[in-house]
Symmetry: C2
Subunit: 122 residues, 2 copies
């Protein structure tokens, strides 16, 4: 736990980076991270064997493809993808998303690739 | 885990109840609940011995009093109160807040009182 108790202004944090698909850590609690990410285009199909993952859209629009249907998520909406469920996030235009997931979670889940990145604090 | 993967629209969930200081569960992940609450007035001083707690304000304005200072939190801002830190939420006018905390978390932490309530799904 970082020592200071800090009020986090999400808009200001989003303004501090531009790259897509590189989640940044803004807070930690109970062995999980709150991350923010800008998403645009298609990601990769993957799943997280042991971790549920929350997506909360704050701007733009995100589609999370599941194997049997698509989830459409706009500002003020959130969804939890349970562990083990294959999914692929897609954003036609840039979407700003808040993620909540255990510290152990890798962005590409069980599929390590050139899209795999370490999240860093911002 | 509830079986279905559901996109949760926070505004609609907030419209479904009016009472203050009665958190409602809207999602679960990794042994934690995402809860929403309407807060107005003063709560009680308390702490959570084993659980960090996230407050994310979506409407209105929340003050979280700490023993040494006040945190002021508006829409689009969030704060994590680490385990063991005494705090008292106060909202001069109604504030809509999203909470993230372990399933074991009691709203009044270590201080059971008539303000203690069980969260229920909404």
């Amino acid at each position: 736990m970082r020592a200071d108790i800090e009020v986090i202004e999400l808009d200001k944090k989003f303004q501090r980076f531009a790259e897509h698909w590189h989640p940044k850590i803004v807070a930690e609690l109970n062995n999980s991270y709150v991350k923010i990410a800008k998403l645009k285009g298609e990601f990769v199909w993957h799943k997280h064997d042991d971790e549920d993952e929350l997506f909360w859209v704050t701007a733009g629009h995100l589609v999370i493809k599941l194997r049997d249907r698509d989830l459409s998520i706009g500002p003020g909406q959130l969804v939890v993808i349970p562990k083990g469920v294959e999914h692929m996030p897609v954003a036609a235009e840039e979407a700003c998303v808040v993620l909540l997931e255990p510290k152990s979670t890798l962005n590409t889940g069980d599929v390590e690739s050139d899209r795999t990145v370490d999240a860093e604090w911002i």
